[in-house]
Symmetry: C2
Subunit: 440 residues, 2 copies
Amino acid sequence: MSAAIKVGVIGLGTVGQGVVRLLKNNADEIARRVGRPLVVTHASVRDAGKARDCDLSGITTLADAMQLAREADVDLLVETVGGISPARELILAALARGKSVVTANKALIAEDGNRVFAAARASGASVAFEAAVAGGIPVIKAVREGLAGNRVERLAGIINGTCNYILTQMQENGTAFDDALRDAQRLGYAEADPTFDIEGMDSAHKLAILASIAFGTPLDYGSVAVEGITRVTPQDIQIAQVFGYRIKLLGIAKRSGKGSEQGIELRVHPTLVPDNTLLAKVDGVLNSVVVRGDAVGEVGFYGRGAGGDATASAVVADLIDLARGLGADARHAVPALAFQPDAVRALPIVPSAEVASAFYLRLKVADEPGVLSKLTAILASHDISVEAILQREPRGHEDANVALITSVIPQHRFDHAVNEMRALPFVREDAARFRVEKFD
Amino acid sequence: MSAAIKVGVIGLGTVGQGVVRLLKNNADEIARRVGRPLVVTHASVRDAGKARDCDLSGITTLADAMQLAREADVDLLVETVGGISPARELILAALARGKSVVTANKALIAEDGNRVFAAARASGASVAFEAAVAGGIPVIKAVREGLAGNRVERLAGIINGTCNYILTQMQENGTAFDDALRDAQRLGYAEADPTFDIEGMDSAHKLAILASIAFGTPLDYGSVAVEGITRVTPQDIQIAQVFGYRIKLLGIAKRSGKGSEQGIELRVHPTLVPDNTLLAKVDGVLNSVVVRGDAVGEVGFYGRGAGGDATASAVVADLIDLARGLGADARHAVPALAFQPDAVRALPIVPSAEVASAFYLRLKVADEPGVLSKLTAILASHDISVEAILQREPRGHEDANVALITSVIPQHRFDHAVNEMRALPFVREDAARFRVEKFD
Ligand SMILES: NC(=O)c1ccc[n+]([C@@H]2O[C@H](COP(=O)([O-])OP(=O)(O)OC[C@H]3O[C@@H](n4cnc5c(N)ncnc54)[C@H](OP(=O)(O)O)[C@@H]3O)[C@@H](O)[C@H]2O)c1
Ligand SMILES: NC(=O)c1ccc[n+]([C@@H]2O[C@H](COP(=O)([O-])OP(=O)(O)OC[C@H]3O[C@@H](n4cnc5c(N)ncnc54)[C@H](OP(=O)(O)O)[C@@H]3O)[C@@H](O)[C@H]2O)c1
C-alpha cells in the first residue's frame, strides 16, 4: 500500500468531529477501498481550549485556519466551519493552491457556489459537497451520476429535519408549533435561533443545489420562492388528515411548460401530500427526496439528513472519490453541477403566481346559513372545482371553519377567488392557504 | 464539442432497445453532461428480421455479435443479451481489446463476475453493471461510492419485481399464488418460465452482487441460502397481517458474530416484515433496498426494478461514467466491487442452521383441548418465547390452525422444537415456517 493521503479538516464541530472519528474508526476498510490510507494530519478550530469528541492524536492543530488552507502539507481539505465567510475564503485559498475541497456548507454552495466552482476549474481542483444536501443520503451522487441518463422532470424532498420533526410532533401529539419547536430545541434538533430552518431558507439552499444538478441550470438560490412552517397549525394538520393528506415542508423543483415556454418552478412551502405516498410517511428528523426522470420514473431516497456521523458519511464518501481522482486530469472528473460548465443554461423561473397546483384553504366564518353556497359560487365563477370540503361547527367562542381543497389551478386564480371570499361579510379571516401536491 | 463516443449494443431486447431509445431521446442533455455526444453506431441481434421498438437509423447492424465485440470501431460496449453464454465470451472478447463494457447481466456477474473483473483488470478496461441490481435505482453506485465511508452492517432488499407483484396481489386481493402468477405473466411481469424469479435465484444473484460491494468479499452466489415464494399462501399473508406484518421476498446480507467469529449471512426467503417499515410498504413491481451503515444509519432506496426504460437508465448512467473515464489511467477508477482487488477478503458464510431470527410457524392441528398448552410447553423447553399466537377455528372440513411468532433464536433451535411438535398426535402438518425480521 502506498503513502497515506493527507487530509486537513477546518472546523471540528458536529460534522468535523464526525469526520475525524469516521476516518479513524473505519481506517482499515477505507484504505481497502482507496488503495491508500486516508489520514487527518491537520485541523483547525476557533477555540483551541474546547474539548472535542474525537481522538486528535497525530493531528497538528493550527490556530489559523487560513494557514491550514494556504500552507499545510495536505492532499485534500475538508471545510466544516459553515457560513459564508470565512468558509468561502478558506476554500478559495485551498483551491488556489490546487487542493480539492470537501464541504458540507449548503449556504455557501447555494449562495456563492458558481464562484467557488469557477475557482476550482481555474486551478484544476474539485469541490465536493454531498453532505450539503440531505446529510448521509447520497442524493447528489444519485441525481448527478446515477440518474444521468434521464431528463429529470421534477424532484421533491423533505430536506430539513428540524421542520419535519416539528411537523411530525404536531401531527402525532397535536402539539402547537411553539411547543414543538421548543421540544426540538431541547433535543438539539433545532438551533437556539431556528429562523433559518423554520422559515425555509435551509431547505431553499438545498433545493437550489438539487435543481441545478437536476436541470443543468446555474445555482439560483435567490429565485426560490420560500415559505416556512410557522403558520402551520395543529388544526390544519388535523383537517388535512381528514382529507387524506399530511402536511410536510417540501422543496420542489419542477419543469413547467413546453418548448420555448419552458421554465422551472423552484419552491419551498408547507405542502399537503397524499398520506399513501412515501414522502407522507417520512417522519421525525428523517429526510427524503423523490426524483422523477423520463426513463426511470419515480426513484426515492430516504435516511438521516443531519447529525455528525450521518453527515460525516457523506463527507468521507466525497473524500474517497477525490482521493481516487488525485493525479488524474480534471476533465475526467464529474462536473460539480453534473453538466459541463459551458453547457449549464439558465431556464426562466416560473413566478409563483403562475405556478399551478391544487390548494388547501381554511376560512374562519360566522356560523350562519348560506355560507357554503356563497363560497362555492365564487369558486365556480373562477372555474375552480372543489375536490373536498369540510365545514366545522364552532367550538366554544371560536368561529366556524370551512376548509376545502381545490382543483389544480394557477395561484393567481386561487388568490383572486380568495380575495373575493374575504370581502364577504361572513368571512372573518382566511386562516390558512397551502399548496397540495399529488405527485401523479 | 469534440468527437462522438461510439457505442456498440449487443442484444436489442427489452433493455437494449431502451438503451438505444434513451441515448437518442436525451442525446442533447447527455452530451451536455459528458462534453461529447454518445452515439450508438453498432448493434447486433439474433434475429435480424424482428421489428424493433427503437430507431435504428445510423446504426450498423451486425449478424455476428462476436464480430461486433472483437472488431467494430466502438469506444464502449453494451451487453444486453443475458444468460451466461455467449454473453460472457462476448464481454471477454471486448475486454481483451481494452474496450470497457456495460452489462445488465446479473446472472453472469453473480456467477462468473470474479473472472470477468479479472479480465477487465488485465486489460485496463472496466465493467459496469448498475442495471444488474434493482433496475433503475442507482443502488450499486450508492453502496459502492455514496456510502463508502461506512462499514455496512446489513442490507435488505425487495429485489425481484415479479415476486413482489405476486405477493402484493395475494395480499390485496387474497389471490392464490398460481392465479397471481398467471396474472403477472399476462401483464408481462413474469416470464413464461418463471422459475428463476419465483424460486428466488434472481434475487440471489442480485444479493450476491450487493453483498460483495457492501462487505468487500468476493462474489459468492453459491453460498446464498435461497427459498422462493411458492409456499406462501393467502392464509399466511392474512395471519401475518393480523400480527402486524407483511410477507415480502427479501434478500438479506448481514454481518454476524464478533471478532474472529465474524461471518456474513446471505439469504433470500419470504420474510415477515413489520407493516410500518418502508420495505413493507413497497408494493407491486417496485424494488427497494435498505442499507445500514455504521455512520449513516439506515438509508433506503426505491424505484422501478425492471422494465426497458428504467433499466436503460442504469445502463446509460454507466455509459456516462465510462465515457468520462475514457483515456484515464484505470487506477483512478472505482473498483468494480468497491474494494481494491487485492483487498477483497472472503468472510465465512454463516450456515442457515446458525442464522438467528424470529420465526413464524403455522401448524394444522386437530381441534381438541390442550393443544396450545402442549405446543407452548415444547417451545418453553427449548427456551423459545412466543411473541404472538393465534388459534383459528376450523372452517368447514379444514383443520384448525395455530400460528405463532417466536423470539429471536438460531434456526436449529427452532427446527428442533418444530420437529418435536410434529411428533405430537394432534399435529397434522407444519404448514408454514418463515423468518421474521424486525430491522431494529
Ligand atoms: N450539523 C449537521 O447535522 C449538518 C448537516 C449537514 C450539513 N451541515 C453543515 O456542516 C457545516 C458545519 O456544521 P456543524 O453543525 O458541524 O457546525 P458547528 O458544530 O457549529 O461547528 C463549526 C466548527 O467550525 C469552527 N470554526 C468556526 N469558525 C472558525 C474559524 N474561523 N476557523 C476555524 N474554525 C472555525 C468551530 O470552532 P469551535 O468549535 O472552536 O467553535 C467549530 O468547530 C455547516 O456548513 C452546516 O451547514 C451540518
Ligand atoms: N428486462 C428487464 O427489465 C431487465 C432488468 C434488469 C436487468 N435485465 C437484464 O438485461 C439483460 C437483457 O434482458 P432483456 O429483458 O432485454 O432480454 P431480451 O428481451 O430477451 O433481449 C435479449 C436480446 O439479446 C439478443 N440476443 C440473444 N442471443 C444473441 C446472440 N447470440 N447475439 C446477439 N444477440 C443476441 C436477442 O435477439 P433477438 O431479439 O433477435 O431474439 C434480444 O434482442 C439480461 O441479462 C437481463 O437479466 C433485464
